[in-house]
Amino acid sequence: MMKAGSKLEKTLRAGHFAVTVEVGPPRGPNPEDVLRKAQQLKGVADGYNVTDNQTAVVRMSSIAGARLLQEAGCEPIMQMTCRDRNRIALQSDLLGAWALGMRNCLCLSGDHQKAGASGKLKGHPGAKNVFDVDSIQLISILKEMRDAGVLESGDPISQPTPFFIGAVWTPLAPPEEFRILRLAKKIEAGADFIQTQAVFDMKRFATAVASAHDKGLTTKASILVGIIVPKSAKMLEYMNANVPGVEVPEGLIKRMAAAKDQRQEGYQITVELIQAARNIPGVKGVHLQAIESEEVLPEIIRSAGLLPRPQV
């Protein structure tokens, strides 16, 4: 039974290997910045994630970014974190998002506001955070609004808001044994699709997926494996050391370091990761991220043999 009827949902239901890509909204109000990315990425994915003030850096809101993408022909997956808004604002924004045509929503806890102060940015580390509800409670909220037409309070809304509900899985963060149980919790709470934290070791990931499969989770929700396009060996080293849940095999870093053209090698590595992902039973798609270089994605997706996207 169709939950929301989004392109992503239909693609997965039809049994196609899905492709989603991440689009970071601009650090400014110019809609052209979103439209340009939409033009670059049109037709290469089944869903386009719009991040929600990722790393606590102020960007155009994900609702606005999502709406602009949609108008440009790219069906958005609106990301929603729990850091900045309480349940009143979250539910209100969900009503608004649905009214504006959004049908996919990815629920996350959100990076702590301390993350916003890094590199050249001062960020807002002194801001008050919210975290009224957590990501799993947010998933439940969306489920109740969709399936029962009620808010968290139990008060009814005038009509249900069918969303295709997404959640994140970070299989390799400690405590590893609990991560699969937490995935189960998210799916029980109502998650329909899962996008994982970036994976660079598909063998390791395959083991985690096998556990999920044993628990019956791979049929209850569609798992899309996250893949970040690596730009350099330095980037891989950085992620391996600093990004929780991201493990980069030593061999991959060496390979990058030895490459004549690290960018090009990065594209090749990405294609190989996608191909490896396709061979893992229970993995229903890939979620590609090219941070601040979305323009490289169409060629990568083409090289991986995933174009054109199936019509559903």
């Binding site: 959100g110 955070n129 957590d134 409670q137 963060a173």
Partner: protein, 223 residues
């Protein structure tokens, strides 16, 4: 205990520049426990303020007095014999004590000498860690004795988030344990991991600060 820490010295110097006679008032309870406002700290800050202000061209006279607790009126009253001699009080008590002093001596400038920061335990000598958030809806029985409100940077009810570092540390500070990692380990040790599989519903934050300034009345204890 309630913990506090000295305000930065430049800030205190700015505050006191216009004053001549200052009372540094300490409290022998919580702030003494966290080495911020007890007698020892009062007697350290007093000469320090004199010297810091002297270097800014100001000569101030500093009196000192530490009372048992600044959150009890009978002890705050002990400061009354010194207040005629000063034109300002710098209180090293927590915000509760500072306000009690300000309420008792409304004609005097009362300044905080500390920033009150948390409800903490002295884990080891010289190390204090926040343990309680005074949230008004205690779930310690469900989390194996670890507070997910005070000790999780995101106050998750269904943690951990994806940010747990290697060795089970928190995403935002490698010195802080990921409390959900600790909760899981404790659950595992007790053979009760299934208790963590239940989806915990959104919390009720209204029994504490979020519900408005807290006011508690006990009729049986009223005069």
């Amino acid at each position: 205990m309630i913990i506090a820490e000295w305000k930065p010295l430049p800030e205190l110097v700015e505050i006191l520049k216009g004053h001549t006679n200052v009372l540094v008032a300490g409290c022998a309870t919580c702030v003494a426990e966290c080495a911020a406002g007890g007698e020892r700290e009062v007697e350290t800050l007093a000469p320090l303020l004199k010297m810091a202000l002297k270097n800014e061209g100001c000569t101030i006279n500093v009196l000192t007095r530490t009372v048992e607790r600044q959150c009890e009126w009978e002890f705050v009253e002990e400061l009354a014999e010194m207040t005629p001699k000063v034109d300002a009080i710098v209180s090293l008590a927590c915000g509760i004590g500072i306000q009690a002093v300000a309420e008792r001596f409304p004609d005097l400038a009362v300044y905080p000498g500390v920033n009150t920061t948390a409800l903490a335990i002295r884990q080891e000598p010289g190390l204090w860690i926040a343990r309680c958030a005074a949230c008004g809806d205690c779930v310690l029985g469900e989390t194996f004795g670890f507070c997910p409100v005070a000790r999780c940077a995101k106050s998750l009810s269904n943690g951990p988030c994806g940010g747990t570092r290697k060795e089970g540390k928190c995403e935002i500070d490698e010195n802080i344990d990921c409390v959900w990692f600790q909760i899981y380990e404790r659950a595992k040790a007790r053979g009760k991991v299934e208790q963590l599989l239940k989806v915990r519903k959104p919390r009720n934050w209204s029994n504490s600060g979020h519900g408005g300034p807290k006011r508690v009345v006990r009729e049986d204890l009223r005069p």
